[in-house]
């Protein structure tokens, strides 16, 4: 991803969690000071890259996921500098119960 100028790259604060039914992955990225038009989000089955340019520096975050997601069905909204991505998991989780000896 090319930057318009040589701006410092900064890691934004990120967090990720499952929704209650373990069906969707929700990722939150803090990108204050970025306008929606300067925000770029790309996603694959196993990760995402978010890029936001502001006046003084550029936010960049690239992360892998622990479980595969259906990137085509990802929904993203950007509100008050907070990017929220909701994407369903590709396969439902099948945790195996381990018997403790």
């Amino acid at each position: 991803m090319a930057m318009k100028k040589d701006k410092t790259l900064v890691s934004p604060t990120v967090c990720g969690y499952h929704d209650e039914k373990d069906e969707n992955l929700i990722v939150e990225v803090e990108l204050p000071g970025v306008k929606k038009k300067d925000l770029k989000l790309q996603m694959t089955e196993d990760g995402f890259c978010a890029n936001g340019e502001r006046n003084d520096f550029c936010y960049e975050a690239c992360y892998n996921f622990m479980h595969e997601v259906d990137a085509d069905k990802a929904k993203a909204k950007f509100d008050s500098g907070l990017l929220t991505i909701t994407v369903p998991f590709l396969k439902p989780e099948e945790p195996r119960e381990i018997t403790i000896e």
Partner: protein, 159 residues
Amino acid sequence: MPTWDPFREFARMERDMRNMFDDFWGGRARREALPGPGKAQLPARREEALVGTPTVDIVDKKDKLVLRSEMPGAKKDNIRISVEEDRIHISGKVEREEEEKKEDYYYSERAYSAWERTIPLPVTIKPDDVKAKYKNGVLEVTLPKAEEAKAKVKDIKIE
């Protein structure tokens, strides 16, 4: 008063270190694993947003002071600003409500936290002319300086 949370301090330190390295090496192309719930490295919730006090920058712009504070994901109605001639008070609250309906049982859990800061200003300002806006997660407050506080530049003629 926010209670001191050692894990939040470590998370912040780690983030600052990471930013320092990013600045030095000019960015990174490698990907980091985003842990699922239960892993300790990254928070599963934006704890910073719930508990942390936002950082504030104040810039001197000749006839006014401009205060900027980054608080992504906040709601305008939850932020309070008040000013006096020589100081500014900012406070905010974050409310999170989780509701769960299980058959006849209705249960609600609310997470509430508040923060407050009073910042003394380097010069006196005009409280009546103060303007504030919250856009893209950044709070910006413009504080016009009082007449007597404006720098008076006098050109000296060399005889």
